[in-house]
Amino acid sequence: MHRPAFTLTETVAAMVILGVAMPAMLTALTAAHHDRVAPVLASQARWLAVEQLETVIADRSSPRLGWEHIHAASYPPEPSVPGMAAFAREVSITETGPDLQTAGEGYKTVIVTVRWSDRGRERALELATILTELPS
């Protein structure tokens, strides 16, 4: 009388297969977790970029700062944004003519770049606006 059953060899083989599969599954689960967190960092970066862009726009409209204040030296790079140390932020400002391409005056393209590291990969987000000189 033979009863169907696992042999020790079969059982060990099953455990070995599970042992190989489990780390792969857990790695996939962890990767999925990181992929979920990535948009959170991007969202935080976006709001930090908005924060800087609003500051530049406010400076342009300030009677005591104004148009002449809007140049890159007024906004030094922040290798670590205060209060949000995982992010770095920088501002670039280019003055052009009305076509926004050739050198000229009256139009400033402001680009705020926020950088952060995500699982060893460098990420960056840019927000830009164009400022014009206020009518005198």
Partner: protein
């Protein structure tokens, strides 16, 4: 074939079964903490994403409202009060406040929930040269406000997130030099 061979069963002996269980117990014990950590991280990640999404929508709405603060008769922002955890503007018609972990926006006397699970909500007013003003401003003290910083932190269980941004009151865009 002897009778003994006829009844021989193919399967585990007791020793083999115990050995299998012992090996399985070691493997299971080692993987349980790793599995738990991975699953916990996954669920916390989902909750963090929910919080961030909720906070982002709330800040989006709030920045739009604060950018659109109108001018009063004196040509200064029509703000009645700015505290660390709230503000009132537009002749008292609009307000935002933190109430028991819930961020509430009021317009025309009607409350609307901007977001829940709030642990920190902080407003900070700045003047035209980006100097921080007092933590609590009321009446004429609000005339100098040009920019408003917003900080929002949310927590639910082990998941948490934070947002920070700033708003320029657009009605002051054509302000003339004093």
């Amino acid at each position: 074939m002897s009778r003994r061979n006829l009844v021989r069963r193919v399967g585990f002996t007791l020793v083999e079964a115990i050995a299998s269980m012992a090996v399985l117990a070691v493997i299971a014990g080692a993987s349980v903490s790793v599995t738990w950590s991975a699953v916990r991280g996954f669920t916390d990640g989902a909750e963090t994403l929910r919080l961030q999404s909720q906070g982002s929508v709330a800040v989006e709405r709030l920045t739009r409202e604060l950018r659109a603060i109108p001018l009063d008769e004196a040509g200064t922002p029509d703000i009645q009060e700015i505290r660390a955890d709230g503000a009132t503007w537009a002749g008292g018609d609009r307000a935002v406040r933190l109430e028991s972990g819930t961020l509430v926006y009021t317009r025309g006397g009607v409350d609307a929930v901007l977001c829940t699970d709030v642990t920190t909500f902080r407003l900070q007013a700045y003047d035209s040269v980006d100097t921080a003003l007092g933590e609590t401003l009321a009446g004429a003290e609000c005339d100098a406000v040009r920019r408003i910083g917003i900080e929002l932190a949310l927590r639910s269980g082990e998941a948490s997130t934070s947002l920070r941004t700033r708003v320029f009151v657009r009605a002051m865009a054509l302000e003339e030099a004093p």
